[in-house]
Amino acid sequence: MNWMANWRTRSKLLFGFGVILVFFVVVVFTAYGTIVMAQNSQKKFLEEDYYAGQRLSEIRAFLNHQRVGLLQMLFMKDPAAKSRAIEDIREATRIIQEKLNEAFERVGQDALFGPKLLEVRAAYKEFAEIRDAQVIPLIERKKFSEAEKLVMGMQLARYGKLRDGLLEIFNAIEARAKENVGASNKSAAFSEKIFILTGIAAFLAAILLGFALERGIANPLRAISEAAETIAAGDFTVKMPPHERRDEIGTLSRTFKTMVENLRVVTQQIKEGAGVLAASSGEILAATTQVASSATETATAVSQTTATVEEVKQTAQLSNQKAKHVSESAKKAVEISQSGRKAVEESIGGMTRIREQMESIGESIMKLSEQSQAIGEIIASVGDLAEQSNLLSVNAAIEAAKAGEQGKGFAVVAQEVKALAEQSKQATAQVRTMLGEIQKATSAVVLSAEQGSKAVELGMRQVTQSGESIRALSESVADAALAATQIAASSQQQFVGVDQVASAMESIKQASTQNAAGTKQVETAAQNLARLGSNLKQLVERFRV
């Protein structure tokens, strides 16, 4: 059976079923032929022979009825019943002729009883003409004896001939039906033989094909399934038998081999991957642990931040109150700055008066200085006089000394004059010193007065400036008051905002706590993952590649 090895499985199956089908077709055609033959013979029998036989038997019945009617007429007295019987006979004659025509139509061409039927028709025609032309007028003319002679003589012979002809046809039909049944039985027996032979041949062919399919398909599949069992046990080192076949089994074997190769490579890679996964999951676990601790720290930090924000909120509340306070203070400051403006204007007036006073003081001091200058000149001339007196006394003393003893008294006078001159010199010196001091003081006063007037001037300017400054200040304070009011409003908004921030922080805190819990779960998951990685590694270790 190796010649089937390279066929496709479809071809093999088609071949096997084709063989069986051929036997089946043979059986079917045989049966069909037999059945059609039987049907045709039955149909022909029914439509031709049986139909014709039926008509003929009816004709016989009407013939008998006519005969009886005619015979009865011979004994009838009543003319009405007689005419009625004549009508009846005529009606029967018409029906008989009709039936004869029908039967002739069906089997007139038949070689076996066509001519016979023609004879019968011609005989009846003759019989009917004689009856109508001779018998019935005799009866009508009450010549019953003549009529009786005619009816019982010639007409009876004709009637017997007619009846024999019909019977002959009946017998021919029956003989042919019997012949047909025998032919059908023969055909059925032949068919039976053919069925038995075909059945045996099909059975043998089926056994042979089963054996061939078993060898061509099931055996290689078993080898492959054994290899698959080995692979299922985790051993990828299995050797596949070489198959050079070109059918699906060969393709399956080669594909299976390639698949095992691929599986081996894939398992190798999975093994390496499992190792990487185990290591990576270990690292992930470590990282996740760190993340978990970080999340806990973050949660703590967020709690602290929340506390801080709460403090900020309180501070904001405080600053809000302060801002309101500042706003009120700024309004007061506006009033105060306005009164300060008035005060500065008044002080400008005061400074003007002080400047006038300072100017008059300066003039007085200038006069005093000039007068002290004159006093100084007077004192200088007095000092000069004293000096001259001193010189005079010295010269007098010199002269006295020159005069010798007589000049002694004059020397004493000169001495006295010298002493007076000294005293007046000292006095003038004292006066000069005092005057110098006075002059210094006056100068200082003049300077002071000038400085004072300058200071007053400066003060005036400063007061004017400060007036402008205070004006500007009051405007600024007004602006500041406005700003403080706005600040108070802003502070209120800020407080609201900080309140919202605090609630948001609270939410963040909760989220952070949940986050920490979630990170714990992630950590657990990472532990599971690490366990899974090691399990996978152990699992893959079982595979031999």
Binding site: E387, L391, N395, A397, I398, A401, A411, Q415
Partner: protein, 172 residues
């Protein structure tokens, strides 16, 4: 009147009391005119002093030595004014309002000398005078007559006036 007041009055009396001028023999004393020149005190014999005159306008004389300040009008008489400090090679004295001119005379020679201040008459005992310092040389050594105990220098006016430097003529 308490003791304190008494003491004050006594002290004033003591201050105001004039010392008794004791008569001294004429031969033993030299009548001098004492003056100050810078920080030093000098004296000249009154016999050479014509008069003391306040320093007034001095007209500078061109072509004269630097110790001659100029000429001055003294009651219609033209007197040459010398700077004695420069003459004696002392630091130059500042001329002030109190500066005086000593007009010395010896015979025909009459010349004015600038003094910072005239102290007054003083009688110097001859035995009080000491010889001039040996360290002094030149003009100072020539013009000095002696030094008193209180370091007043007695100038020899005669020598000063006789000094040829004062004669200004065609030679110089």
């Amino acid at each position: 009147m308490d003791d304190k007041t008494k003491n004050i009055l006594k002290r004033r009396a003591a201050a105001l009391a004039r010392p008794q001028v004791e008569p001294r023999p004429a031969s033993e004393f030299v009548e001098t005119l004492e003056f100050r020149l810078g920080a030093e005190r000098f004296a000249v014999e009154t016999s050479f002093v014509r008069e003391v005159y306040p320093l007034k306008e001095v007209t500078p004389l061109p072509g004269t030595p630097d110790f001659i300040l100029g000429a001055m009008n003294v009651r219609g008489q033209v007197v040459t004014i010398n700077d004695l400090a420069r003459w004696l090679e002392l630091p130059e004295s500042a001329r002030t309002a109190g500066s005086k001119v000593l007009i010395l005379r010896d015979g025909e020679m009459e010349c004015g000398f600038l003094a910072d201040e005239v102290v007054g008459m003083r009688a110097i005992a001859c035995d009080e005078l000491e010889e001039t310092l040996p360290t002094l040389t030149g003009i100072r050594a020539e013009c000095l007559k002696g030094v008193t105990r209180d370091r007043t220098v007695l100038l020899d006016a005669g020598k000063v006036l006789a000094s040829p430097k004062l004669i200004i003529g065609g030679k110089q």
